[in-house]
């Protein structure tokens, strides 16, 4: 039985098992129909031209991990940003781990999707926001059909969340192969401010496929910073679908740091539904081996006077393949839009490849839109300069590559997170130097 059939046939059992209200039930039933009709995307679809899911889908995934497993904090501490105080929402094999988590209901809600979906108290929010930003593509629909657990974050008006929120999904590999479908909802109301760090981590050698959907709503003048750390092992594949709806004068940014995993696909969609707002999409990709990272971004400018900034840097070695497919749509009404898109890549090996497709679709005349894309190598004169001053080749290369990614790192607002990413980069480049000196 292939994965699609398995998922479709287990849907009914899943619906009986979970306790949800009628609204969500309807949404889910509609979603499974969409998935059943469309199936998994294939390379024939333009958006999936360069990424094939075949190797990932052939595993026999267990769709509902049954066993509960526990983890010791000291064993997994290294995956946390542990040097600062944070709220934590931690999942192990898709199940909430209260032991590792630190949630709150004091003024803000940082808790679980499962309780939000089942408790009447949250119903107004769920009915207003749940599945309102997500696209109706097959993978998002699949997630919607099985949405049950994930992070639920609701920040009411005029609140500045004093510490960042960490969301971590661990896979323990108790089952031979696991498919996880976390569903996150983040609602940030007027004038509020929140910072979120998200991470997926496979702790075993068993394959894991994560199909995650995150919906983020940034209301008037809200500020949302979302950081994704993707540094998983070679058996973990991630399809991350993130949808952000912004209201006027809001600021939203998503930073994606892709350093690992077998196959990573980031579908990042911004919808600007108001005036004078700013969206930032940035990413660093450093991969090797046979890894594959695909960034598929969309910024939809609907109203006038908005800005968007995209900056993606990629370094590919060994047989790694990278894809960047960025799309900026500027609607007729969205005059005075300022959209900027850049994608810079370095190929370090003859077997590595990069396919990039930065697209602009513009229907308004009074706009400033530009995109730039480069593929190149390290500057030899810069290398020579450093080598002639006694810096070994490896370190010199690493310094240049770090400098190359620095544009993206600069806008990370949490210093500890920045340090951590810097360390991961040093590690990826195989050097032991502190770049922050």
């Amino acid at each position: 039985m292939d994965l699609k059939e398995k998922l479709v046939s287990s849907f009914l059992a899943f619906e009986n098992e979970v306790n949800i209200d009628a609204f969500v039930h309807d949404v889910r039933t509609d979603a499974i129909k969409i998935f059943e009709e469309k199936g998994f995307p294939t390379k024939k679809e333009e958006a999936w031209k360069y990424t094939s899911l075949n190797t990932v889908l052939k595993e026999d995934y267990s769709v509902f991990p049954k066993q509960e497993s526990a983890l010791d904090y000291k064993d997994v501490k290294k995956y946390f940003i542990h040097d600062i105080d944070t709220y934590k929402i931690i999942f192990i094999d898709g199940k909430y781990s209260s032991h590792l988590s630190q949630t709150t209901h004091g003024g803000i809600d940082v808790c679980l999707m499962s309780s939000a979906l089942s408790k009447p108290k949250y119903q107004p929010i769920i009915e207003n926001y749940f599945n309102k930003a997500a696209e109706k593509d097959s993978l998002s629909a699949l997630n919607t059909a099985f949405s049950n657990e994930g992070a639920y974050i609701h920040i009411p008006k005029n609140k500045v969340v004093e510490k960042p929120i960490q969301i971590i999904h661990f896979a323990t590999g108790n089952e031979s192969a696991t498919m996880l479908q976390p569903r996150n909802l983040v609602v940030v109301e007027e004038n509020s401010h929140v910072q979120i760090i998200e991470r997926h981590q496979n702790l075993t050698q068993n394959p894991v496929l994560t199909n995650s959907v995150t919906e983020i709503f940034a209301e008037k003048r809200a500020i949302v910073d979302y950081y994704k750390i993707q540094n998983d092992n070679a058996n973990a594949s991630l399809i991350d679908n993130t949808f952000i709806k912004q209201d006027r004068e809001s600021l939203a940014s998503v930073h994606t740091f892709s350093f690992g995993g077998k196959l990573t696909r980031n579908n990042l969609n911004f919808y600007q539904e108001g005036e004078r707002m700013d969206s930032t999409l940035k990413g660093i990709t450093i991969i090797g081996d046979k890894q594959h990272v695909d960034h598929n971004t969309l910024v939809h400018h609907i109203e006038p006077n908005c800005e968007s900034h995209q900056d993606y840097k990629g370094i590919f070695s060994d047989k790694a393949t990278g894809v960047f497919n960025g799309k900026v749509v500027v609607e007729k009404e969205a005059q005075k839009t300022n959209a900027f898109q850049a994608n810079n890549n370095i190929l370090l090996s003859d077997k590595a490849s990069i396919n990039t497709k930065p697209q602009l679709e513009i229907f308004a005349d009074d706009v400033k839109c530009s995109h730039g894309c480069t593929i190149g190598q390290l500057d030899e004169s810069a290398m020579f300069y450093m080598r002639s001053r006694g810096i070994p080749e490896k370190e010199a290369k690493a310094l240049l590559m770090f400098a190359f990614t620095n544009n993206v790192l600069e806008s990370v607002k949490i210093p500890e997170l920045k340090q951590r990413i810097t360390k991961i980069i040093a590690d990826k480049l195989g050097v032991d130097i502190g770049f922050d000196l």
Partner: protein, 482 residues
């Protein structure tokens, strides 16, 4: 102070009629509508082609039958009815002319209206014309001068008879029959076109040029062009197109194949000004063209195009950089107005080492038109030190039109250096203000700016053509180009 604004310009653009919409009444011999194997055979027979050519056409027809019309392009139109088109029409006065006096006077008048009278062209020395009206070549000039150098420049149907070995060797090598839907159709039914062969080490002393016109109501035109530049040779080839006004949509599916052998250089320039449809978007030519060039070692192919006409354009002049150190260039201005749609760009396929390509594309959209750039830069894993620079700029006039960019970049070699940049903007008010301040009225200012915007490409056109390109830009964007 003139009160000429962009709104006025838009108004003018709306009302500007296609000046070259006229229809010459030449008695034609036209095939019945529809397409099947018999028609393909009949075309081949009519043209007295050898058997291998007939077989080649039939093969293409069989491939075409199984293919579907592509839909990926960013254009929307009513699909042509391929059984409702006549696939052959030839002017009746068939015999070849030795002198210009023998040419049908009505035909000459047509050319005069276009401002390209043969007399004038003849006197302009340096331009040889292979005039194509409704698919059959009716006048060829300067053939003798060229023959002295060993240059073969004739219609492809003549070439099939006179130089079958060359045609057989090269036809379909760059654009195979199965390449795409329209290329297959063209391979099956191509009526005529130009053939050009430059021998080893010869530098063609003049610009070669062809005029294509679609003249007969309801006739599709399927041109086939084959240009072969042998080792170390050079040729500059010009192609220009104008078509009369017509209400029903006309289909044009041409195939152009360029082959540049070692150290050869081909410069191929096009000015395309087919009837774009009227202000309501009615009528106009469908232009679905496959153009591709193959570069051997140290060879260079340069495409320059000025696209102002056609209701729907679907055209990607491409270069396959097969040999080491080969160079591909693409310079394009695409202007769309009213309801025109253009999806155009290029493909640069880097296969050899040290290959270089440059892409400069300028899109100007006005009215309700949609203008897309679609390009592919591909570096194969064995192509060392490939270099590409691409620049796509779009200029928008009014908020009912759209400009789109779809660049595909695929790099599979670490030594590749690829740069791509694209911008979209309108004519800046500050720029106009700057000009106004210095006593340049708004109309002139817009002209200056548009001119400056397209200059990089206009500069690449040969002198003879640059003048005409300017004229055509004027028709499309009257009031904005000086």
């Amino acid at each position: 102070m003139s009160k000429y604004t962009e709104d006025d310009l838009r108004e003018e653009l709306k009302t500007k009629e296609y000046e070259y919409g006229f229809y010459t009444d030449i008695e034609s011999e036209t095939f019945p509508n529809g397409l099947n194997e018999d028609i393909v055979r009949a075309i081949s027979k009519k043209k007295e082609e050898p058997e291998w050519m007939t077989d080649w056409r039939i093969e293409a027809y069989r491939i075409w039958e199984k293919m579907e019309e592509p839909e990926w392009a960013n254009v929307h139109y009513k699909k042509p009815d391929f059984q409702g088109i006549s696939y052959y029409s030839a002017p009746n006065s068939k015999p070849k002319y030795d002198s210009i006096d023998e040419v049908d006077p009505e035909l000459l008048a047509t050319f005069e209206k276009l401002g390209i009278s043969l007399d004038e062209q003849k006197k302009l020395a340096g331009v040889a014309m292979d005039v194509v009206v409704d698919s059959v070549s009716v006048a060829t000039t300067f053939k003798k001068t060229l023959a002295e150098q060993g240059i073969i420049f004739m219609s492809i149907s003549e070439a099939i008879k006179e130089h079958p070995e060359l045609v057989k060797k090269y036809i379909g090598t760059v654009v195979p029959q199965k390449d795409n839907f329209y290329a297959a159709l063209n391979s099956a039914v191509f009526s005529d076109g130009s053939f050009c062969y430059i021998p080893k080490g010869v530098r063609c002393p003049m610009e070669l040029s062809t005029y294509f016109r679609i003249n007969q109501a309801g006739t599709g035109q399927f041109e086939r062009t084959l240009v072969i530049a042998d080792q170390g040779s050079y040729v500059s080839y010009l192609e220009g197109c104008t078509a009369p006004s017509r209400d029903e949509n006309q289909l044009h599916a041409a195939v152009v194949e360029l082959i540049a052998l070692d150290d050869a250089e081909i410069k191929y320039s096009t000015v395309q000004n087919w009837f774009p449809g009227n202000a309501e978007g009615k009528g106009g030519v469908y232009n679905f063209v496959t153009k591709r060039g193959l570069c051997e070692t140290n060879a260079k192919i340069s495409w320059t195009q000025v696209e102002t006409g056609s209701a729907v354009t679907w055209k990607y002049p491409s270069c396959i950089l097969k040999g080491d150190n080969s160079v591909g260039e693409f310079y394009s201005i695409a202007v769309t107005n009213n309801y025109q749609q253009a999806d155009t760009g290029t493909k640069m396929i880097h296969l050899g080492n040290n290959t270089k390509s440059t892409i400069i594309s300028k899109g100007i959209s006005a009215g309700q038109s949609q203008n897309s750039y679609r390009g592919l830069v591909q570096v194969s894993s064995r192509a060392k030190n490939a270099r590409n620079f691409s620049q796509c700029d779009s200029l928008l006039m009014g908020n009912a039109c759209g400009a789109h960019t779809f660049p595909y970049i695929e790099a599979n070699n670490k030594t590749a250096k690829i740069e791509h940049e694209a911008t979209t903007s309108k004519i800046g008010e500050d720029q106009i203000f700057y000009c106004n301040q210095r006593g340049i009225d708004t109309e002139k200012a817009i002209a200056l700016i548009v001119n400056g915007f397209s200059k990089e490409v206009l500069n690449k056109l040969p002198m003879e053509f640059a003048v005409e390109a300017q004229k055509l830009l004027e028709i499309s964007l009257e009031g904005s180009v000086g």
